[in-house]
Structure formats: C-alpha cells, structure tokens
Point group: none
C-alpha cells in the first residue's frame, strides 16, 4: 500500500482531535495522500477559520517535501538554504510547525497538518495524529 | 443556534456517504458553516481528486447565495441573469448541481457540497446529506 | 504498481512525439502521475509557448476526473451538466481535446496532455501516447 | 543561434540526471529557453512533488534576470538590494540555489533549474547540466 485510505485519515484525525481536546485548544486538522491531495479535514468547534487553509497547506507541504513543516521552517529563515520557498507553489508552502509526514514501511504515503494554536501546540497535535496512524 | 457544529457536519457527511455507497459512486463531500467556512470534508476512496476543490466550492457557493448550485446554474447559463457569476469571488463560485443549503428553523446556517459523479448523482447525494441534517 | 514512472512517461512522450512529427505539427506533451503531479514535459521545437500550460493542465484534468478532456468538454458546454467546471480548481481544468487518462490493469495511474494544434490533432497525438504506454 | 532546442534541453537534463543519480538524490530538472518558456522537465522517481514548480521557477528566474538563483538569493535577503523580489512576477521568482543560466557565445539563451535536495545539491546538479550544454 503506497497510499492511504479515508479510514486511515479518520484514525489520524481522531487521535489528533483527542489531543487537541486534552490541551483545550480547538484545531483544524487535515490529511493528504501520497499525491498531496486532500483526503479529509475537520475544524473543531471554535477553531480559527483562518486555519482551514493553513492546516491543509501544512499537510500538503509535509508530503510535497517529505519533511515536517517545523524542520522546513528552520531551513527557510532569512539567510538559510530554502529562504523564499514560501513564495513558491502558488502560496501552498507552509513553513511553520504543524505538518508532519505519514509513513508506512519507511515510505511517506501522506501527511497530517494542524493549525489553530501556538506552533508548539500545532506540532504536538500533529504528532498525536501520526501516533494514531 | 445560528450556526452548525462539527457534529452536525459529521451527521450530514455520514448520510451523504451512505447514499454515495448505495449508488456505487465514490464522492467528495464538504460542509461549510454560516460564514461559508469549511467545517469538514471527506474524499471517499477512489473519488476524483479534481472534486476536492469542487465539493468545497459547491458548499461555499450554496451558503454564499443561499441557493442550491443547481438552481444557481440555471440562472448562470449564457443569456441568463447571472451569467458570469462563475468568474467572481476568485474562482470559488460553482454553478453546477451538488451544493445545497442547510437550514434550521428556516434560516440557512451552512451548506453541503458534493462532487464525484454526474450532476444528478451529486445532487442526490447532497440531498441525502440535507436529510441527515 | 498503482503509479507510473519517469521511464513510463518517456515512453508515452516518445510515442506522442513520433505522431506529432508524422503529422507535421509540433506539440507540447506532458505526463502526470496518479496524484496529478507532473512527471515529464517536452515542447517540440516550434510548438506554441501558450501550450506549455495547456498540455500540463490537460494531463492534470484527465487524471483529476479520470476522463478524456474531449469527453469532459462535451459535458461542460452551456446547459450541460458540468458547465462551469472550467472555472474551478484555480484554472487548472482544461475542457477541450488533448488529455487522455493512462490506465494499467483497469486503474487510472496518470494521464497524458497534448497541446499545439487543432483539437483533433491534439487528441490523436495523445492517443498515440496512450498506445505507447 | 540565439535560442536553444529540445535536443539541447535533453542534453542538459541527461547530464543533470547523471549527477543526481551519482549523488543519490532524485531531482526535478527543468530547462527554459530564451523567452523563459519551458522546453522540458523531468521528475526522477521519488523526487519531491513540491519541487516540480520550484525547478521550473528556478529555471525561469535564472533566465528572467540572467543570473544564478544562488546569486540572486544573496541579494534578496532582508536588508539586501533585491529583498522583496520573491513577491513579484506572480510568484515565479525563486531566490535559492538551483537555477543557472545557459549561455552560448556569451549570450544567455536559456536556463536550467533543479530542485529536490539541499541548496548545495541542487546547485551542483544544475552545474552538471550546464556542463552538459
């Protein structure tokens, strides 16, 4: 299986939602497949509407470059090797924490993207999603 | 309640999914709230990737104009009163069947958008979603 | 194999190029994979520069909806069920002949898109590409 | 000859591919002509899908300003003379390493763009492409 299913995505989202509820911060959570295309998205009640787009783009970015958006962000600051990458791909590249690849047998088959809180919160909720995968 | 919740959206999506499975056509299903902002989206396994955007835009359009995209489409053909509306709003206006408003006590509080089959199929799956609301 | 490789794409392009040369019309030829992402593109010497984008979008569209752009176009004329689809997906939907899905064992694993001549020429060169797959 | 041909582009791409294979990092490689228009692109198996756009834009940028994207990047950091250039031209300007002009008899007739690894890797693969020209 070199891709993921809607059932996989729902399992990831459920785990991420549980974590968001635990820390008391409503989130947008998105999952994309191996081609970077959206499989599922939820916005928890009270989560920021500006984060719909961000959660989807974080998931896309993590799959598009097979890297967490946190790590990509470290490389995309001024004077770093990828500074400017945030202006490519028609504005779909997110360079702050909250997107993490989803791997099966060592192959990236999709990604989860979370947006709605601090960078640290977003990343920890995404990690919970990965653990649920 | 002048808005809808994630739980509402999931109930709508579940009903729409059941109908899509019944007719054997995998679908993208999206629900937006009273602000036109995405609450939840799913792409069933095997559904068209080009329909991710369309399902979301059908939902947005139905709420944006408080009308089904089927009816809006009838008014947006060449020589009709809204011809050209599909070029507005940054490309978010969908003018073909599959988007239907979600109302509570006579007030439109959101909308469902479905894409993945023929116009008739999309509309019938959206209707099933409305019935589930 | 639910996807296609660069070697597959090159075989498709070579067959399409041969046909374009045979009919004396230089073409842009593009191949996308199962996720709709570009695998390879060539513009033959003398082919229209405006067709770079079109060839890529025809390939994307054929995979995005698992249909030839010729057939999609028939359904997207005024008063047809998909009229307006050309305004979705950020302008990536091409609704005129030249894009055809690439299937393996009955599953669409990518698509070829051709642009540079008449609709009939584009479609016939795309067909040659499919035959080469 | 004030322009380059598809045959030229293929020679550049073949040389770049060989280098990418040698360093074990799959790449996206694109070549544009004197008008900045795409002549050919390949994505090696396993290369990042987010780098399709970047490779093409690096090539476009190098021709558009007759400079390597590495050098342009040095001038586009905060407080440098071209800071902000990455927001121009509809998002097509890439300001990180991997794009290099292709010259014939001292005249820039096109450019190669590479994306898929570190900035250093991308630049070295682009240099191999230039050497193959």
């Amino acid at each position: 299986m070199t891709n993921l299913t809607l059932e996989d995505a729902r399992r990831v989202i459920a785990a991420a939602e549980a974590k968001a509820t635990e820390i008391g911060q409503p989130m947008n959570i998105a999952v994309v497949d191996s081609g970077g295309n959206l499989v599922a998205h939820v916005r928890q009640d009270g989560a920021w509407i500006g984060s719909v787009n961000i959660s989807i783009n974080k998931a896309w970015t993590s799959k598009a470059f097979d890297i967490s958006t946190k790590d990509l962000g470290d490389n995309s600051q001024p004077n770093q090797q990828f500074f400017g990458i945030q202006n490519t791909n028609g504005g779909k590249v997110a360079i702050f924490a909250g997107g993490i690849p989803l791997s099966r047998d060592g192959v990236v088959v999709g990604a989860v993207g979370v947006s709605g809180g601090s960078g640290e919160q977003d990343h920890s909720v995404a990690e919970a999603g990965v653990a649920g995968f």
